[in-house]
Amino acid sequence: MLSFIGRSIIQKIITLFFVSIVSFLIIHLAPGKPSQVDPLNPKFTPEMVERFRKEFHLDKPLHVQYLLFYRDLFTGKTASWKDNQPVLRKIWERFLNSLPLFIVGTILTWTLSFPVGIRSAIFRGGFYDRSATFFSYLLISIPGFFFAYILIIFVVNSFHVPVIGMETFGIGDPSWFRWFMDRVWHLLLPSVLGATGGIAVLSRYVRSQMLEVESQDYVRTAMAKGLPPEQVHYKHALRNALLPFVTMFGLILPGLIGGSVIIESIFSWPGMGRMAYEAILARDYPIILTVNFVSAVLVLAGTFISDVLYMVVDPRIRL
């Protein structure tokens, strides 16, 4: 076990190193320049562009830029080119904003999908299964933004309460309880919207996994020995169907930092996704690269966690 952890960490550090090189190269090879050195502005003289390039180290060879960037990153000195704010602090603020959305969305997705999918599998081909399939595909195929608009218009027109932003705009200084409840309300639509898409997809996987397991001999045996159906489905079958989901669960971790650009933009939520998206548009390399690096770390941490979870779920697996 310990040797597994050790080996895995070394492997992951090597992977991370290559990821850092590749992401750095991709950003620099991509066409487009930081907006500060945009040449299509008559006010920008070549000298000024040169000065900005110097300030941003863009005049140095790529490997030097690489070293300079990661030196700054690890000493916590990277600053956004757009507003000179320290990148790590910016990311941390946005991360805290995105966190509640992520948590609520994840809880809803990773609980509801199972009963929905399992029931579909049990009553395969029945009315429930068909309508679940229909709605899943409906939700998968309707673009998220469209659904969001419909929901916003519906809620605003019928209940006359604000839904966008993290809190009611101009709420002033209410008691902490009201403030808290206001925040909770604003979480409702974006997190439910995020979750519906997730449930639609995940419940499909659950269904197909369960279908496979339900036809196994041990399920028949369990049924035959007279166990209550719930125990058969939710204990005997589910456990064995769970393996692929462990991998998937590990991979939701990077979603923490990715956020959702569309939902965040529509709901004016000051989250990670929006910041990263705007940074890409403005070619704000420090932000893009830092977000990239942090998400690479999270992906690797996610795979590590799922490896460990494998052991917990399936005692046959020895690492």
């Binding site: 066409p31 487009g32 320049k33 500060q36 040449p39 299509l40 008559p42 006010k43 920008f44 003289t45 070549p46 000298e47 000024m48 000065r51 600053a79 757009k82 507003d83 000179n84 910016k90 603020e93 609520v104 809880i107 809803l108 609980t111 509801l112 199972f114 009963p115 608009y149 916003i152 218009i153 605003v156 209940f159 006359h160 309460v161 604000p162 966008i164 993290m166 009611t168 705009f169 101009g170 409840m181 206001d182 909770v184 309300w185 979480l187 409702l188 997190s191 439910v192 209550p228 719930e230 125990q231 489905h233 939710y234 589910l238 933009s265 529509i266 709901f267 004016s268 000051p270 929006r274």
Partner: protein, 711 residues
């Protein structure tokens, strides 16, 4: 069983918890109508957040919007776009002009003359009333004073690239010993001064001066380099326009500090300081010196004639006491950073600005909102609104929803909504042309676009009115040239190209393009074929691309089209001038300076005259416009330039789009007359379409006011 229950009841509990919060949320009603403070707040929304709240560093529109409320410049523009004093009460523009005595030149009627003799000669000429040429007469009358600067010596050290090793720099000592210099003080700036003086001093008096004779270097440099140094340090003639601002007394910054001339000087120095990386350097590069004459007078001397310079003083003035060297040093030490590397760009000031404008900065939550409060001690009296709130709402539809709900006071209407919202009796609406235009540009380096008949024919084949009507829902106006349509620089006498495919075919036939058997145009067996490109992600341009392709196909031109990602489009095609024709747009300022986009010297790769428009008369006019300080003359030159560009058709000028904004009807202008009586007036846009011009006088009333019909 338990697992199933957990899986079902947890999400239900979570959702119920989320839902119950509904009972605690204030409704829109409570926020807007139910909240009496709401009448004193003006809330507006923006798609993007501000980035840096410092007028000398910001480059995006959101930051500029906030900066324009927190900071104030020396001047701004009034309803008619004329300059108007803000922090300055008045200003004067005059000129000091210099020329070196050309000892070898022979002056008509006086022979070779020494310095004193030249001065005497000019003084006599000025007194002589019998000057025949009226222009020379006017020019001499304009001279207020004639002085003489004795010869001087100078030594300058320049850093130059080493010719052998391009990475190394070497020091070049430039030594000069120029002759005496005549100084002419003029009442008004006169760009033709030296041209007129040649009538007196001889045609070649200035051109044969030969500054190289008076300059030597150590180590020696090439002839061209020496000539460049001579032009730089010993120019035969020199114009130094001077701008004196008289500042307003008793203007306060928001922290109570009194504004004075040193703040103006400081702002200028901060822009020029290379460490601050100000994007506005280009505007102030022609400034030679900023001097504080007394606390309420600043004198700005320019290196050369550059008329757009006056407008640059609309720039917000920074408080020196908060941002000077010592203040920055203290801040760096407090934050534990290296004071040597700490510049204005890193300062916390950029997120908590303090200026002297009508609004005081209060709070900024990134990507959420910025709050400003009115400044009680603003010199013009505080604005009527108590606060100004700038919300960041990236999605236009949510902006619209918030506007209907009353939590935003204005909404920028999308073109397709104009029909519906413009005449909605619940709102007041404003509209006007924007500052920018869309065009099709032709690469004039390539056949057949080097023929103006072909360019004109291509323009005539496109029905711009149909584009405006169907693609832009009528929310645009046709444009014929490169000036802002609502300024007087724009020549309204020029008719737009008519939509006339017949005439287009005739023009093409004149240029040698005739239809072949299949109906395609051909010249010497070569078909008329080219590619029209634009950037992807802009639906309007994409629509125009298709319409243009179809229109040209109808007269027998085989056009291919291509959509390219913005960065690729600019870097690979526009910058390298590798295109046949393209669709793009320019946004413009009020100043009529067209040098970068239309001057023939700007046609190299990475420069903005990428269509390679070269016209000698246009070049001269562009330079004259830049150097002319008299508005009427400028207008005259602009009209002529507009004519040339419209005739040459380097672009097919398409349209300038129109914006429409709607506003709550309860917002009105509130004024207090001499007797102290409150008068409410309807908001009227200025001639140039700016409806927020009187913003400081706006207020929201509890009920929709009724105004007497105006005759």
């Amino acid at each position: 069983m338990t697992i199933r229950k957990v899986l079902i009841f947890t999400p239900i509990a979570v959702i119920l918890f989320l839902l119950q919060s509904y009972f605690w949320v204030p409704t829109y009603e409570q926020q807007s109508r139910g909240n009496p403070d709401r009448l004193n707040e003006y809330i507006t929304a923006s798609i993007g957040d501000a980035s840096i709240l410092n007028p000398i560093l910001s480059a995006d529109s959101a930051s500029s919007q906030i900066n324009s409320l927190v900071f104030e410049g020396l001047i701004d523009r009034d309803e008619e776009l004329r300059f108007r004093g803000r922090l300055a009460t008045s200003w004067e523009v005059f000129e000091e002009a210099f020329f070196y005595i050309n000892e070898s030149a022979s002056i008509p009627g006086a022979g070779t003359a020494r310095a004193e003799e030249v001065v005497d000669f000019l003084r006599k000429a000025k007194k002589n009333n019998k000057v025949s040429d009226p222009r020379l007469k006017a020019c001499l009358d304009n001279i207020r004073e004639i002085g003489l600067i004795p010869p001087r010596e100078f030594l300058v050290i320049k850093r130059e690239k080493d010719l052998k090793n391009s990475k190394k720099e070497i020091e070049v000592k430039v030594h000069g010993r120029p002759p005496a210099r005549v100084k002419l003080t003029l009442t008004a700036v006169d760009q033709d001064l030296f041209k007129n003086l040649t009538q007196l001093l001889g045609e070649t008096y200035f051109t044969s001066f030969g500054g190289e004779r008076y300059v030597s270097t150590d180590p020696p440099v090439s002839k061209e380099k020496l000539a460049a140094y001579a032009r730089e340090f010993v120019p035969a003639t020199e114009h130094n326009p001077i701008l004196i601002f008289h500042l307003r007394d008793n203007v306060l910054f928001h922290d109570g500090h009194v504004f004075d001339a040193s703040d103006v000087k400081f702002t200028f120095e901060a822009i020029m300081n290379p460490r601050n990386l100000s994007p506005r350097v280009a505007d102030y590069e022609p400034v030679k010196a900023v001097e504080v004459i007394d606390p309420l007078t600043v004198k700005i001397t320019y290196k050369r004639l550059y008329s757009p310079a006056i407008g640059t003083w609309g720039m917000g003035i920074l408080p020196e006491h908060l941002l000077n060297q010592e203040a920055l040093k203290r801040e760096a030490l407090r934050l534990g950073k290296d004071p040597e590397k700490f510049s204005m760009r890193q300062s916390g000031f950029n997120r908590h600005p303090i200026g002297s404008g009508p609004f005081v900065f209060q709070e900024w939550k990134s990507d959420q909102y910025i709050v400003l409060d009115h400044f009680n001690r603003y010199w013009e009296g505080p604005p009527n609104y108590k606060s100004y709130i700038y919300r960041i709402i990236p999605d236009p539809l949510t902006q619209e929803m918030e506007f209907y709900a009353g939590t935003i006071d204005n909404y920028g209407v999308q073109p397709h909504q104009v029909q519906r919202l413009k005449n909605d009796p619940t709102y007041q609406s404003f509209s006007g042309p924007s500052f920018g235009y869309t065009y099709i540009g032709y690469n004039m380096r390539r056949e057949p676009f080097n023929d103006y008949r072909v360019r004109t024919a291509l323009g005539m084949a496109i029905d711009v009115n149909k584009i405006i009507q169907y693609v832009l829902y009528g929310q645009a106006e046709q444009i014929t040239g490169p000036f802002v349509k609502q300024t007087d620089y724009y020549n309204h006498g020029i008719k737009p190209l008519p939509y006339d495919p017949e005439r287009a075919l005739e023009l093409l036939a004149e240029a040698g393009w005739t239809p072949n058997k299949e109906g395609w145009l051909e010249k010497d067996g070569k078909p008329f074929q080219f590619t029209l490109i634009t950037n992807s992600g802009n639906d309007l341009r994409k629509a125009i691309l298709t319409i243009a392709q179809d229109s040209w196909k109808q007269i027998g031109i085989d056009v291919r089209t291509d959509l390219l990602e913005w960065a690729v489009f600019i870097q690979e095609r526009v910058d390298k001038a590798d295109f046949d024709a393209l669709i793009l747009g320019w946004s413009m300022g009020i100043e009529p300076d067209l040098y970068q986009i239309w001057h023939s010297s700007q046609t190299n790769p990475y420069q903005l005259n990428f269509v390679s428009f070269k016209n000698k008369e246009a070049d001269e006019l562009i330079i004259k416009i830049r150097q002319e300080y008299d508005h009427d003359m400028q207008v005259e030159y602009c009209h002529r330039l507009h004519e040339i560009i419209a005739r040459e058709q380097p672009y097919t000028f398409l349209y300038v789009s129109k914006w429409t904004a709607i506003l709550d009807k309860r917002i009105v202008i509130k004024e207090i007359d001499d007797k102290g009586k409150v008068i409410y007036k309807k908001i009227e846009p200025t001639k140039t379409g700016n409806y927020t011009f009187y913003f400081n006088k706006w207020i929201k009333l509890p009920e929709v006011p009724t105004f007497a019909l105006e005759g």
